[in-house]
């Protein structure tokens, strides 16, 4: 590794950050355990806090994916919510298939919504989803293919900057409209709910919830290391170069299209995985997840935390969502002001995000 020469020696701050991160991960890992303590125990953590944290972990994975594309390769996608949602839909289809004859109409194969919309057969694109590995594969594959197609067309025609943002936004918008249609066979506006089990475990059991929590946490840590490995490799430097001076990279003989495509597809697949972990935990997936506002919000988590820092992205996802949860409860009428104000303040005053604030003006 060239790290010794290429990057400055880790500063005290960087070490501190690393230690803090490890501490946080350990604390997170403790949460389901504390949840098992009796309710009156001083260290008891309620189901609500555990489940909401599990959700935020999924958001943090999504934020890492966005940071990889935006913070490093400069691809501001306003459609990552679509990849997240597609991953969620893939696992949601699996969960729907697992309900089997336990639905209200007792149909052995068809989910309830198909029964009352008058379907007689399972649509072809639903085949195979009774298998968990297949569903998980699709949760990665479908977002990957979509990102591949959209990315290939866009990067080949050298669509960059805001144009790329607008196109990805239109992509998620079109998907949202399409998924809202009941005739698409994805449950329309209601999407999928009322899941029963996953991998043989009932979804509302504490043990399942803890398992999902740990799976998400492990994925978050794994994703972080994957992203860190990529960004520290030479590819990471190519991506930064692409972000800052795309055409110069071309004259060095690198295929910008390939580099971007690689990172965009990977980022989409990570987002799909995050969605797949998210859906069993929140118990619902519907086309609202495709709404363009969701994708923008996810980008803003990254901006708040500090783009191009990975840790910052995760930090942003946690802190913005924590703030949102807190504010929607204490100030239901005013929280949008606070959130909107935060976005304005961060972009205007903290271009490097919270992490940049910690690091001070280093460069």
């Amino acid at each position: 590794m060239s790290a010794t020469i290429a990057t400055p020696t880790p500063s005290r701050l960087r070490l501190g950050l690393r230690a803090a991160t490890i501490a946080v991960i350990l604390l997170l890992a403790l949460m389901p355990v504390l949840n098992r303590l009796p309710a009156d125990h001083a260290l008891h953590i309620s189901d609500f806090v555990v489940s909401i944290t599990g959700k935020w972990i999924c958001y943090a994975i999504l934020a890492l994916a966005i940071d990889l594309a935006w913070g490093y390769a400069g691809l501001l996608s306003l459609g990552h919510g679509a990849f997240f949602a597609l991953g969620g839909y893939a696992i949601g289809m699996h969960l729907m298939r697992l309900i089997g004859p336990r639905g209200v109409y007792g149909h052995p194969v068809l989910p309830d919504f198909m029964v009352f919309l008058g379907y007689t057969d399972l649509p072809i694109f639903w085949w195979g989803f009774q298998s968990f590995p297949y569903a998980l594969f699709m949760a990665l594959f479908v977002p990957g293919v979509l990102a591949g197609v959209v990315g290939f067309l866009a990067f080949r025609s050298r669509i960059t900057g805001v144009y790329f943002s607008i196109i990805t936004q239109a992509m998620t918008y079109a998907l949202m409209l399409a998924f809202f249609r009941n005739d698409m066979g994805f449950g329309g506006n209601n999407g999928f709910t009322d899941f029963k089990e996953l991998l043989g475990m009932p979804l509302n059991a504490g043990g399942t919830r803890a398992a999902l929590f740990y799976a998400s946490l492990a994925t978050l840590v794994g994703t972080y290391f994957l992203c860190a490995w990529i960004t520290r490799s030479k590819l990471g430097r190519v991506l930064i170069a692409v972000r800052d001076a795309e055409s110069r990279v071309r004259f060095l003989g690198y295929s910008v299209t390939q580099a971007k495509l690689f990172v965009f597809v990977l980022s989409a697949m990570i987002s799909g995985l995050a969605g797949a972990l998210y859906v069993p935990q929140v118990g619902i997936i519907n086309p609202g997840e495709f709404s363009p506002g969701n994708s923008i919000e996810a980008v803003i988590w990254v901006a708040v935390g500090g783009r191009g820092t990975l840790i910052g992205a995760a930090l942003g996802a946690f802190s913005v969502n924590a703030m949102k949860t807190w504010l929607t409860t204490i100030a239901p009428d005013l929280w949008l002001f606070a959130l909107g104000g935060l976005f304005v303040a961060v972009t205007l005053l903290l271009p490097k995000g919270l992490l940049g604030l910690l690091r001070g003006r280093r460069s």
């Binding site: 803090a20 991160t21 501490a23 946080v24 604390l27 997170l28 949460m31 953590i45 309620s46 189901d47 609500f48 806090v49 489940s51 909401i52 944290t53 959700k55 935020w56 209200v104 109409y105 007792g106 149909h107 919504f113 029964v115 009352f116 919309l117 008058g118 409209l177 809202f180 249609r181 009941n182 329309g188 506006n189 209601n190 999407g191 709910t193 009322d194 899941f195 509302n204 929140v282 118990g283 619902i284 519907n286 609202g288 997840e289 930090l315 946690f318 802190s319 924590a322 703030m323 949860t325 807190w326 929607t328 409860t329 204490i330 100030a331 239901p332 009428d333 929280w335 949008l336």
Partner: protein, 415 residues
């Protein structure tokens, strides 16, 4: 870094909830007992805020009302308001928060079916109690939910019956227009079954769906005109969702579709929706509900006066879901008093058979199927945005939440 993960201490949360409360000016003295908590789970932002904020206000009004009468079981009633922001997964999260963190005794909330479907598993898992005040597609019955809005047989079928009768114009062709979500889809499926059973063939039924908030109705309204030009009396049955109605009715009016020629009966258009439209071109079009603001009944007069005083606006209207919220609240209060407890299981048991003299002018009873028996009223739109009631059932109708017109209900699992 740990801070955000446990985002609020309980004390901060309670302080917040207190701030969100609408405190009555003069608080009657209450005992030392902890207050009874009422969760309010209605969207205050996002697309559904248009409809749901009025319901939040209705619950707050009822809380004030009951505290003014000395509270419940000698305890003060306190509202915990949250904003699920028209975001369905957020509904589930907020439901869990209300039940587990705020520890509410009962929750009033939800408007759309998807939000109800989203919170249903949470309420069932944590044995909570939800009062759902909006007419819906049926095909559901949860022990944790009391449905105080109409099931399809309490709204849709009587309305179509009216259209096909002499007073309604003896319609022989029906255009089913709806927003593309589960309520219109299911309702129209039930209606199609019903119409077929009345001898109206599929050739005489047009069915079309539009997305939420659809604003360009030109094409669909002209297609309805064409559909109507086949030499048979035609009527429109609209399950168009609230927001899209304004442009829809505008287009109807502008394209000169008069109620005399093609009457349109709607299931989601009430006084609140009409407040946003110039109703003059719409006179004679219809809506079917279980309550209209124009009902002449002492309970309704009281409701309207209390509401307009509470909201400090003498022109604010009342509507069906607000009435359903009020009925649900009163019933819950009666059940709590009867059970002498707020424990969910006891209250649930006490709810069955509970009766309330409702603003709709009838005494409504909660049945063991968790639905109210309700009267059905057909109203014609008046120039002032109110409804003139042109037909009403003589008695209340028991809800058929499992429609006999959906064949699969025959082999539905009981329980």
């Amino acid at each position: 870094m740990t801070k955000p993960l446990v985002p609020f201490s309980r004390r901060a949360l309670m302080a917040g909830l207190g701030g969100a409360l609408a405190m009555p000016a003069i608080r009657p003295a209450f005992g030392q007992a902890a207050p009874i908590k009422v969760g309010v789970l209605h969207s205050l932002s996002g697309t559904m805020a248009i409809s749901e904020t009025a319901l939040r206000d209705t619950v707050l009004m009822m809380v004030e009302w009951i505290n003014g009468r000395g509270g419940l079981l000698g305890r003060r009633v306190e509202a915990a308001v949250v904003d699920p922001a028209s975001n369905w997964p957020l509904f589930a999260e907020k439901a869990r928060e209300l039940l587990q963190v705020a520890k509410v005794d009962v929750t009033f909330g939800c408007w759309t079916s998807v939000s109800r479907k989203s919170v249903l598993p949470v309420f069932e898992e944590l044995n909570g109690l939800l009062f759902y005040p909006v007419q819906y597609e049926g095909e559901e019955q949860s022990r944790s939910i009391f449905y105080t809005g109409a099931a399809p047989n309490q709204q849709a079928i009587p309305a179509v019956e009216y259209l096909m009768g002499k007073d309604g114009g003896e319609a022989k062709r029906i255009a089913l227009l709806g927003t593309d979500y589960v309520y219109p889809r299911t309702t129209n499926r039930i209606l199609r079954g019903y119409l077929n059973s009345k001898g109206i063939t599929d050739a005489d039924i047009m069915e079309e769906y539009t997305p939420f908030g659809h604003s360009d109705w030109q094409g669909i309204v002209s297609r309805v005109k064409t559909f109507a030009a086949q030499g048979k009396k035609t009527a429109i049955v609209s399950t168009i969702n609230g927001d899209a109605n304004v442009p829809f009715y505008r287009e109807l009016g502008n394209q000169g579709i008069k109620a005399e020629d093609i009457p349109c009966v709607a299931f989601s258009v009430g006084e609140e929706e009409l407040a946003g439209i110039d109703a003059r071109p719409l006179v004679g079009h219809l809506a079917a509900w279980n309550y209209f603001m124009s009902v002449q009944a002492p309970a309704n007069t009281e409701f309207k006066n209390t509401w307009q005083a509470y909201i400090k606006n003498p022109r604010r209207v009342t509507n069906d879901p607000m009435e359903a919220t009020l009925v649900g609240f009163k019933m819950w209060a009666q059940a709590v008093a009867q059970a002498n407890s707020t424990a969910v299981d006891a209250v649930r048991e006490a709810m069955y058979g509970q009766k309330v003299d409702a603003p709709c002018g009838y005494s409504l009873e909660m049945h063991r199927n968790h639905h109210l028996a309700k009267p059905v009223m057909i109203g014609e739109i008046q120039a002032d945005g109110q409804f003139s009631i042109v037909s009403r059932t003589p008695t209340t109708i028991v809800a058929e939440n499992w429609s006999p017109f959906i064949p699969e209900n025959a082999n539905r699992r009981r329980g």
